[in-house]
């Protein structure tokens, strides 16, 4: 268990540094620099040089990185040269929207996926084919397109839910819930399909194992065999998949936030990309990476908790 966590940290910590360093180095390759971006098309060489000095851009790249890094470790991610907004502040205000989207989505996908997977493994037949079909659909349907279809059906045609926008839960809890339904469903389709498939495969594998035969032969109840034994065994790979799915949802959220005009990190990332707002995109990249690292750590802990062989080592 400890080894597993150490191994994960051995990858995670360098990962955060690597992502931040790479984004930093990429900026150096960028045509034009932040100073030029701020000054726009009309500037004097003197003004430019002065601004560069002011921003520390005339220092060697590694020194610049060191400044950024020591700032970042103290929670200071710099200031956007485009909007003049504090990067850290922007990220903290928007992180909540994105995280609540992803967390609710994970919950929904896990509940639907595990239920479908278990039922289809136990019942087989048409439900089994449904899960197969769903996993194909989840694989093939673009998340942004599915979001638009949901908007067309539930907002434009049926007028049941708001098409876009986000309501702060502090303002109106019901408004918040309504604004979350379509994005969460749109984002949950693919993960639910992946989880359903993995659960089904895991359950079928577990139900075919010798210990299940022994349990049945010695009188264990079918309910206990399915839920206590098979599901617990199948849960080990499912947890891994849920972790992967969570990371994949970071990609999905960028698109879904764009479709539903949600003020999350994804929207910020796209906006910063369009505007070449490098300090902002760097902050977002590091935040996303830290989220990935934490989720992977949680998955490892859950994995060890479920799998006694790992826990012992």
């Amino acid at each position: 268990m400890l080894r597993l966590i150490l191994r994960r940290l051995l990858i995670s910590v360098p990962l955060v540094f690597l992502v931040s360093l790479l984004t930093f180095l990429l900026q150096a390759l960028a045509p034009g620099d932040t100073a030029r971006t701020i000054l726009g098309n009309t500037y004097t060489p003197e003004g430019y040089a002065q601004l560069r000095q002011q921003l520390g851009l005339d220092e060697p790249l590694l020194t610049q990185y060191w400044h950024w890094l020591s700032g970042a470790l103290h929670g200071d991610l710099g200031v956007s040269p485009i909007s003049g907004l504090d990067v850290g502040e922007q990220i903290t205000t928007r992180l909540g929207v994105t995280l609540s989207l992803i967390v609710w989505c994970t919950v929904l996908a896990a509940v639907v996926g595990v239920t479908l997977g278990v039922v289809s493994a136990v019942r087989g037949g048409a439900l089994g084919r449904l899960v197969d079909a769903l996993s194909l659909v989840g694989f093939a349907v673009p998340v942004f397109w599915f979001g638009l279809v949901l908007v067309t059906v539930f907002a434009v045609t049926l007028r049941l839910l708001p098409a876009t926008g986000y309501v702060d839960p502090a303002t109106s809890l019901s408004g918040w819930a309504q604004s979350m339904v379509l994005p969460v469903v749109a984002l949950a389709l693919a993960p639910a399909a992946v989880i359903a498939k993995q659960t089904r495969d895991g359950m079928l594998d577990a139900l075919g194992r010798d210990f299940v035969h022994s349990l049945r032969a010695n009188g264990a109840s079918e309910r206990s065999i399915v839920f206590r034994h098979a599901l617990r065994n199948a849960a080990i790979p499912v947890v891994t998949v849920i972790g992967l799915v969570f990371v994949g949802m970071l990609t999905g959220t960028v698109l879904v936030e764009s479709v539903f005009a949600m003020p999350g990190l994804g929207g910020l990332a796209v906006q910063s990309t369009v505007q070449h707002d490098l300090p902002m995109i760097q902050g977002v990249a590091v935040t996303f990476t830290v989220v990935v690292v934490l989720v992977n750590l949680l998955v490892d802990i859950a994995y060890g908790w479920l799998n006694p062989k790992v826990r012992a080592s």
Partner: protein, 626 residues
């Protein structure tokens, strides 16, 4: 692979997309940017087969031209992924050592980078540059491919011919190109197909966000953006674009699946349904023996095989009296384990009890419910798999507790006390310690003792022991057999011992049934079976048993093989391998003879066998059928 209709359809669709995109200038009905302001946002019509967008541009034509961008992007991504992934995987897998460790570390590292973020970072630096984006997608997809190639390469490297090539001094590059690469092509194609689907999806996403090729050049993702701006006016516009993206991604995925399945060569798909409980047909004329605890009468079981449903157990009758230990012997594939499963009403998936009856204490078990009611409480099972027959994720104590609670109920404390008692009764030292252990922390012998404790939880009257010692060390075998004998004596429990080993059966059982190719061929008290076998198959089995042979003599083996269930000969199933076979053996049913009371044999020549004092002298090869 091309025999699979899904794969053919996927391939045909992809070919269609490629042709439509490449030949767009020739085939497209309109120019991609030509506006037709008389037909803005039209639904499909003769003029515009897939309708028009808000500027009156033809959707079909734009999809065809957009395909050029999409396919070029996918090609760039897949090429990047192949170059990086294959070379990294081959090197890591083939060279091994620290190179492999570094490569694995980098692969793990890259696999945890969120794709979109890297893409956005790259795009924020280089601006809207679709080629750069697709190269990035390829780079990010490479680790997954490298991992697969590495695994496959390592497997190939361990094989003898590659080792031989290395010893022979063939240069590494030649070995990789000549020996390794052809063998890992399958997994590479599968990953490439998955990567292509992912790349297309990523590309559509970038275009949707407006970060790809700038308008007015048509792109598939960009067309979804166009549609999104008019969903409240013309929802149709979403349909063609979404379908094209979805179907293309799907086609890549299905193609990958088909290649993988073809490589795995799954000729028969595993039956999907859960263990089917047999429906017991009406009893045959034979009544159960009045004094028997368990009576099987003419049990016939059919199982699904590569050759359709086949009868694997063919009219087996046997009796076990209360407290009696009875053996069921035969080579693997003779149907003895399936007979054991039929007694429990737990045939493998798809298996059907097609005839005969199971009686327990004279009661005919007909329904799944009747079988369920006796499992564990009256009939229990231990199997060959010792560690495998325990749930790996629960402690021993929890597993025994569950069955104790199921059969006896009671509070948590009484249940646990009974569990510890059971663990002590199978002679496990420190039951309390063992109860806290997980199955992987037990030795084979200990695990088998726990399995026995589990079977005893419901105080069964009959224990089916299916090859209980086969997978254990010889010394442990003897201990487990001794334990079974003790338990049998203490509890007055009957045991049906299923084994391929006549020696084990002779050790423990009073009587035994010998099975061959689905039928019981001989039954007698164990001692009689040993001294005077009346079936040539039993005689042959005895010759195979090292315990029976004087030291330093050659161990005989029965020539030929047990026939597969779909390949069983008519007449006596054993005749192709039998030294005594004659023409009569090859046709018709062989009647059961009873030379002495309680000694029955299904052999026409059993008297000849009795005459030949030392049956081992029969030269089994002379008359062997094959």
């Amino acid at each position: 692979m091309l025999r699979r209709p899904v794969a053919v359809a996927a391939l045909a669709y992809l070919v269609l997309v490629v042709v439509a995109a490449v030949a767009a200038p020739l085939l497209a009905p309109h120019a991609p940017e030509a506006t037709d302001l008389d037909h803005v946002l039209s639904t499909p019509s003769g003029l515009h087969p897939l309708g028009t967008d808000s500027l009156g541009r033809d959707v079909l034509s734009r999809l065809m031209y957009g395909g050029q961008v999409s396919l070029a992007g996918v090609a760039v991504a897949v090429a990047t992924m192949l170059v990086l992934g294959v070379s990294a995987g081959l090197v890591a897998g083939f060279v091994g050592g620290w190179v492999d460790r570094v490569a694995t570390w980098v692969i793990d590292l890259m696999l945890s980078i969120p794709v979109i973020i890297t893409l956005l970072v790259v795009l924020s630096v280089v601006g809207s540059n679709e080629t750069a984006a697709m190269v990035t997608v390829g780079v990010l997809a490479a680790p997954a491919l490298a991992r697969v190639v590495r695994g496959a390469t390592m497997a190939v490297r361990r094989e003898t011919f590659v080792a031989a090539a290395r010893v022979a001094g063939l240069p590494t590059s030649r070995i990789i190109a000549g020996q390794v690469l052809p063998r890992v092509t399958g997994p590479i194609i599968v990953q490439a197909a998955i990567g292509a689907g992912g790349a297309l999806m990523a590309q559509a996403g970038i275009e949707f966000l407006g970060l790809g090729v700038p308008p007015p050049t048509p792109t598939w993702g960009g067309m979804v953006t166009d549609a999104s701006q008019v969903v409240d006016q013309q929802a149709w516009l979403l349909v063609p674009t979404g379908l094209v993206i979805g179907l293309t991604v799907l086609a890549f995925g299905l193609l990958g699946d088909a290649v993988r399945d073809a490589a795995a060569d799954r000729t028969t798909r595993a039956p999907r349904s859960r263990t089917q409980l047999p429906v017991v047909p009406p009893s045959t004329s034979d009544a159960p023996a009045p004094d028997a605890l368990l009576s099987l009468r003419d049990i016939t079981v059919a199982l699904p095989t590569a050759h359709g449903m086949c009868t694997v157990v063919d009219g087996v009758s046997l009796d076990v009296r209360p407290g009696e230990t009875v053996g069921l012997v035969g080579e693997s594939g003779c149907g003895k384990s399936i007979t054991g499963r039929a007694i429990l009403g737990l045939l493998p998936p798809g298996g059907v009890l097609t005839g005969g009856a199971v009686y327990l204490d004279g009661e005919h078990l007909r329904t799944p419910k009747a079988f369920r009611a006796v499992r564990g409480s009256r009939i229990a099972l231990i199997s060959q798999e010792h560690v495998g027959s325990l749930d790996p994720v629960l402690t021993v104590g929890h597993q025994v507790d569950e069955l104790v609670r199921r059969h006896h109920g009671g509070s948590r404390n009484t249940v646990r006390a009974r569990t510890l008692e059971l663990l002590a009764s199978v002679r496990l030292p420190n039951p309390a310690t063992v109860a806290r252990r997980y199955p992987h922390e037990l030795s084979g012998g200990m695990a088998q003792r726990v399995a026995i404790a589990l079977a005893l939880a419901g105080d069964p009257e009959l224990l089916i022991a299916d090859e209980p010692t086969t997978a254990l060390d010889v010394t442990v075998q003897a201990e487990i057999l001794a334990l079974l004998r003790q338990l049998q004596a203490e509890r007055g429990m009957a045991i049906l011992l299923i084994s391929h080993d006549l020696g084990v059966v002779a050790d423990v059982c009073r009587r035994a049934y010998v099975m061959y190719a689905g039928r019981v061929v001989e039954t007698a008290p164990s001692a009689t079976l040993f001294e005077e076998p009346r079936h040539p198959y039993t005689a042959g089995l005895l010759d195979c048993s090292p315990r029976r042979r004087p030291p330093r003599t050659r161990l005989a083996a029965i020539p030929g093989m047990v026939p597969e269930p779909w390949d069983r000969p008519t007449g006596c199933h054993f005749h192709p391998r039998c030294p005594l076979a004659t023409a009569e053996c090859m046709t018709g049913e062989i009647p059961v003879a009873e030379p002495t009371a309680g000694h029955r044999t299904r052999c026409l020549h059993h008297t000849d066998l009795a005459k030949g004092e030392d049956h081992a002298d029969v030269d089994v090869r002379v008359l062997a059928g094959d």
